[in-house]
Symmetry: C2
Subunit: 303 residues, 2 copies
């Protein structure tokens, strides 16, 4: 409840929205007790447990250092409760570095997973969304990494986004097998032989906004360049130039409720610093769905 | 005069436009003599020599195979005349593979150049343009390749685009030195020490449309993904969705007259298949400028 640029107000509004949409989950809210209490009704509070702390890691602190030096920071408490099993999922819009370090080093990767990854959402012209993976935490990848990202993102897209048998594509600079850089050339046959995904071949940069795929796999360097480019298109065209277009409006990353770290043992959902109430509600919904579908238990069978 | 989707009509119109803007260059037009003659006036024809052939390599032929089997194809004649010194530059919107193979194997790279490259134009929000290099012919790059692309693209941007002391940036996923994938990390110090460019550090995907740089260097895999993504934004937003915006309109690659192959011994300018009259005129202007500035002679001193 201390994470993100608009905490605690937008966190609390997100909690209220989530509670109105879900009648089962119990929420553990980590943050300033009086701030939280004053914005929630008694019936809403009956769905929550508040763990009080006013200690937070801010957005610009060094993740590892801050995690060591601030044991009572809300994010440290969250990871510790998740590790102990006091909660089943952890959601935060706080310092992304801390979320990643905590995910990898406190929650740890699923046995057999070489590296965790974070997917991102790509708006399509037809109103649907694609999932791109990786988008930055794995700048250098090996073919086996990309193949695992494909399995992880396939399961996420199927179980959490609700797309039946998602079409998995490899981001490349040509359509045929054999095209691309060394990494793409070596990854293609692994994806082709991966029995746990629905591989449909290569797609190119021009296909990203089309409905030719559901999941697109790439190294984190390429994915991050694409992601930031897309975000800047929104900033330039919609915010600076005031152009209103249904497709371009969906480049607003604030619309999306945060994404899970894939490949770790428990659900951890990471939000943007600028998360608003609907983002927080969305993140809680993703977390709840990851628990109720037991996606992580299922994923481990495929790796 | 047989190259591109709209040959010979748009080629001829491009020739007329170029002749009206330039009163020195003599043009050698390779193609169907009667087609060419009927669209040019006597005074225009006095500025041209026609080399007749009706043999062409089409867009989908295999470059190496077609070059061997069609010695009288217009592109083969062009490369052969350029190699012999019968012309000083060669311009075509024909099969891109043939243009690249001809450039590398008939005209050959400048001594010391590891790999030729092709730059691309990136529209900026402020109405200016950036140059991105490489955009696809070098899918896998070493740090030394990127460092040479920087020198080549710096000279091109300075001498041909007319930008004084162009700011050269490295495309990366973080601003500080040390960020990025292994390639970017290893390239940064080379660019920093390169005395023949004006290196300003890293830029990110979100900076591509800003005026924070003049030349951005990346491997051809990343560059090609970005290029095709940008082209698709134009197709989707402007062509399909009929959105008219001064910035987005400049994503129309038809606006740009083609780009030279950098790092080879003589000027070769490559056009898109969809080149129209203004593209052809632009390509001829680029070629003329490459000759008159002796850019290739100058570049070789910096490599």
């Amino acid at each position: 409840m201390l994470g993100g640029d608009y905490a605690p107000k937008e966190c609390t509004l997100g909690v209220r929205d989530f509670i109105s949409k879900n009648n089962q989950a119990h929420l553990v809210l980590i943050g300033n007790e009086s701030d939280i209490q004053k914005d929630l009704s008694d019936s809403e509070l009956s769905r929550c447990t508040i763990v009080h702390t006013s200690d937070a890691i801010d957005m610009h602190e060094h993740p590892v250092k801050a995690m060591k030096e601030k044991p009572n920071a809300s994010m440290n408490i969250g990871f510790s409760m998740l590790a102990k099993g006091d909660v089943d999922a952890f959601v935060s819009a706080g310092n992304t570095g801390v979320m990643l370090v905590g995910a990898a080093h406190i929650i740890k990767t699923i046995d057999g997973v070489l590296r965790p990854t974070i997917p991102s959402i790509v708006p399509k012209v037809n109103g649907q969304f694609g999932i791109m993976c990786d988008v930055g935490i794995n700048a250098d990848c090996k073919p086996e990494n990309l193949n695992q990202f494909a399995t992880l993102a396939y399961q996420y897209t199927k179980e959490i986004m609700g797309i039946a048998n998602p079409r998995v594509a490899l981001l490349n600079i040509g359509e045929e097998e054999g095209k691309g850089n060394i990494l793409a050339q070596a990854t293609y046959p692994l994806l082709k032989e991966n029995q746990h995904i629905n591989f449909i071949g290569n797609i190119e940069g021009r296909d990203l906004f089309t409905d030719n795929y559901d999941v697109v796999i790439c190294d984190g360097f390429t994915g991050n360049i694409v992601l930031k480019l897309c975000e800047s298109i929104y900033d330039v065209v919609v915010k600076e130039r005031n152009l209103s277009d249904e497709f371009l409006l969906r480049f607003n990353h604030q619309l999306y409720g945060g994404v899970p770290v894939l490949g770790i043992n428990k659900p951890v959902v990471v939000g943007h610093g600028i998360s608003d109430a609907s983002s927080f509600s969305g993140m809680l919904q993703v977390a709840e769905k990851m628990i109720s579908t037991n996606i992580l238990g299922n994923v481990s069978r495929f790796l």
